[in-house]
């Protein structure tokens, strides 16, 4: 089974909120000092899902990213985990796109790859939290899709998939080629091994620009976007927490209980 996994580089989502800053002039996040960007959490799990299939059934896993120069790191990360190849969509024209523009570019690149049975994405990126690019790719490529999933297994050329819903999960059978988005219920992603890291360092990644994937600059990035960002800001949260203290823990507990009662919370 040949699998393409779309991965995105994001500011570390575990950055302490106190270090999170926005430049109101550009409506952009100011990278936090000393905190390196990472592969988006759910995308790493999508890589894991692909590798589990490869471990059992063989085939090729290709990681694909759209992003600036630095985004090559997330391809290398996927390759160090075990992906065979990396494709980097790199062009100034791709910058500042919305879900539409990004999905369009990725779909065109996937078409160019041509051979694939499965496309995997994370359920949502840890920066914009939108969860629309995967489904957009499916729509552009006219693929069946399931989102978000916690399990995928291959048997008799079909995909057995478990889709998360509010009160449990649905068991579905999907005919490839298809697109799935992966959630954390899949389980832990593997760590890159030292050998994996060394192999990934030696491997080249393929770089494609807008022309390579046959798109006009006006169809992608900020110019291709359907949805425009008007304002990005940090909401003001008035912190008015009453810290309950006591002579010891038991006293603090007693005081807290009394305050909760006085405030009619219990």
């Amino acid at each position: 089974m040949d699998i393409i996994v779309c991965v995105k580089q994001v500011p570390d989502p575990e950055t302490p909120p106190a270090s999170f800053r926005i430049d109101p002039g550009t409506n952009k996040v100011i990278p936090a000092q000393g905190i390196a960007p990472v592969i988006s959490t759910f995308d790493e799990l999508a890589v894991e899902a692909a590798l589990r299939i490869k471990d059992k059934h063989g085939g090729k896993v290709t990681a694909m990213t759209l992003g600036p120069e630095s985004a090559r790191d997330v391809l290398k990360h996927a390759m160090a985990m075990g992906a065979d190849e990396g494709i980097h969509l790199l062009d100034a024209a791709f910058g500042d796109g919305d879900g539409w523009a990004t999905a369009y570019a990725l779909a065109q690149a996937i078409k160019k790859v041509g051979r694939y049975d499965l496309v995997l994405c994370g359920r949502q990126a840890a920066d914009w939290d939108a969860g629309q690019v995967g489904l957009g790719i499916a729509e552009f490529l006219n693929l069946p899709s399931v989102t978000p999933i916690k399990k995928v297994e291959v048997s008799d050329g079909k995909l057995g998939v478990e889709r998360l819903v509010a009160d449990g999960f649905e068991v579905l059978e999907v005919s490839p080629p298809a697109l799935l988005t992966v959630s954390n219920e899949l389980g832990e992603p593997r760590y890159p091994t030292l050998r994996g890291i060394m192999m990934a360092a030696r491997k080249q990644v393929t770089t494609w620009n807008a022309q390579d994937i046959g798109v006009e600059a006006s169809q992608v990035g900020a110019r291709g976007a359907r949805t425009k960002l008007l304002r990005l800001f940090i909401p003001i949260r008035e912190s008015k927490c009453e810290i309950v203290e006591g002579e010891d823990v038991v006293d603090a507990a007693t005081k807290l209980a009394l305050r909760l009662r006085e405030s009619k919370i219990i």
């Binding site: 500011p11 926005i22 539409w100 819903v165 954390n184 359907r226 927490c241 309950v244 038991v250 507990a253």
Partner: protein
Amino acid sequence: MTEYRGVLICSEALQGSLAAISWELLGIGRKLANDLGEELYAFLPGRGVQPLAQELVAGGADKVFVADDPRIEYYQTDSYTALMDGLCRQLSPQIVLMGQTSLGRDLAPRLAFRQGTGVAMDCVELSIDLQDRSLLQTRPVYGGNALAVLKTETKPQVATIRPKSMTEAQRDTSRRGEVISIPVNVPPGGVNFVKKVTEEVEGVKLEDAEIISSSPGGGAWGGTRPVCDSGWLPAQLQIGLTGKMVSPNLYLVVAASGSSQHMAGCSGARNIVAINKDPEANVFKYARFGVVADYRQLLPPLTEKCKELLSG
């Protein structure tokens, strides 16, 4: 050129009633339609849902489009997208709204892209820009660290709303509206439904609970992602951006750092009480009361004192 008018919501039913999200969709949908001076349409898909059409009218819909068919009992991407796409072609609504639910997360992007338009997911505020009559969409981004205001420049403007973020519509049975049945065609697709596995957790439903604790005790129980990922709690009890949205009277947050992604799930909680051994923990920024302590030492006397107060 097509003239886009009106607001279309995709309602959801749950065990023979309209789901809570449907009342929120009616609430915000009616408001936006009023601001535009246009109609509110509601789509009602499912099995045996016909009797709920009048509820949607009572909640403010001018026209209800019902697709009642056993083949669409469960949400399925291909059939639901085809139905909504058909309705959008027929009605040309300016705005299409759904819940940020299992259904909306999947359907909204698929529908929007099929319609050649953009989509704003998980909005917590929607309003009409009086200058050009288009929809302004506010949604949390970066795990809730920031808010983004977006405008989709193509039509229809598609958005999903975060559960518990909008005011529910009032039920008024004197309202009049039209109910229209629409035919269901299930297109052959690449996804076959095999079965549904329900993993309901015993006790009060998290979304309805008045008291929630992230540690065993009274009330319902919910937790952070690491707690669920490690199997201490079932996945259904994860609270947060990618888990459940809750709005209890009291949320007792025990030994959770207060990451923005977790707190996104309880912004509707009326009282947050935090217990954390780290005085700098982010959770105290959200809490009304806090204690800096090791929960293992604090919880036993706290439970005892609360019991004493409640029985006395």
